[in-house]
């Protein structure tokens, strides 16, 4: 699996992985057998953090 973008909080980074897993389990984007693309991950990161613009 590719690295995920670094988050400000280490615990948030762990939580974000759980969030991505929840998204996949619920069929929210991507395919069942593939990981999200980097762009898809960034989209979910925006959802997760509520930040619109990621640097």
């Amino acid at each position: 699996m590719p690295s995920l973008p670094a988050l400000a909080s280490r615990r948030l980074e762990f939580d974000f992985r759980d969030y991505l897993h929840e998204c996949k389990e619920s069929g929210d984007g991507g395919s069942a057998s593939k990981d999200f693309t980097h762009d898809e991950i960034l989209e979910r990161l925006k959802e997760f953090t509520g930040v619109e613009e990621l640097s």
Binding site: S3, F14, H21, E22
Partner: protein, 187 residues
């Protein structure tokens, strides 16, 4: 399989192991809580005390105060309460036919005594990758073995290769690998 050898001090410095052992000792005495799969089919093993997720989107989930995340590493659990071995990515060299490896069996919680505590957490050198695995013994006789696997090499986004395994504790974040490297950061 001859991937694990104990006498590889020429590959991994003893001082490195001493330092890593000190970090791994954060797990000793912590009770096992549960295991679950997270994104990328990575296994996370939760120890310590249950904590609620702080994020609203994960309100239904709890996690342990100490989370061992295996990233892309192979793993195996030898149950101390049932005659089974389960895992992923490891083929044990045994004369009997082990149960099929699957995560569901581990997630069910049936193979570790509730409340079993970590009695030892021992970093181990792993050849030929010059990397570092981990053995976690529980006081019910169960034991996890974690062995790093070769890098995928398909990180098309140019991000750095993830670590082999990591431990998130209340005040510290330990990352081990890739290779014989470790990094600690405050949480």
């Amino acid at each position: 399989m001859n991937a694990v050898e104990s006498n590889v001090e020429h590959v991994v410095e003893p001082e490195f192991f001493a330092k890593l052992q000190e970090q791994a000792n954060m797990l000793v005495g912590q009770p096992y809580l549960f295991s679950r799969v997270t994104y990328g089919d990575e296994l996370t093993i939760h120890f310590g005390t249950e904590r609620a997720h702080t994020h609203s989107k994960l309100a239904a989930k709890v996690r342990g105060s100490h989370v061992l995340s295996l990233r892309g590493s192979a793993w195996m659990l030898r149950s101390g309460v049932n005659p089974v071995i389960i895992g992923c990515g490891i083929t044990p060299s045994m004369s009997f036919n082990p149960k099929p490896f699957n995560v569901t069996a581990l997630e069910s919680g049936a193979h570790i005594r509730p409340g079993a505590r970590v009695s030892k957490a021992i970093p181990i050198p792993v050849l030929p990758m010059k990397s570092v695995g981990l053995i976690v013994d529980l006081d019910d006789g169960s034991a996890f073995t974690i062995l790093p696997t070769p890098a995928s090499g398909n990180d098309e986004d140019g991000l750095e290769e993830p670590c082999d395994w990591e431990l998130l504790a209340p005040h510290e974040w330990l990352r081990v690998g890739p290779g014989a490297t470790m990094k600690t950061d405050p949480v």
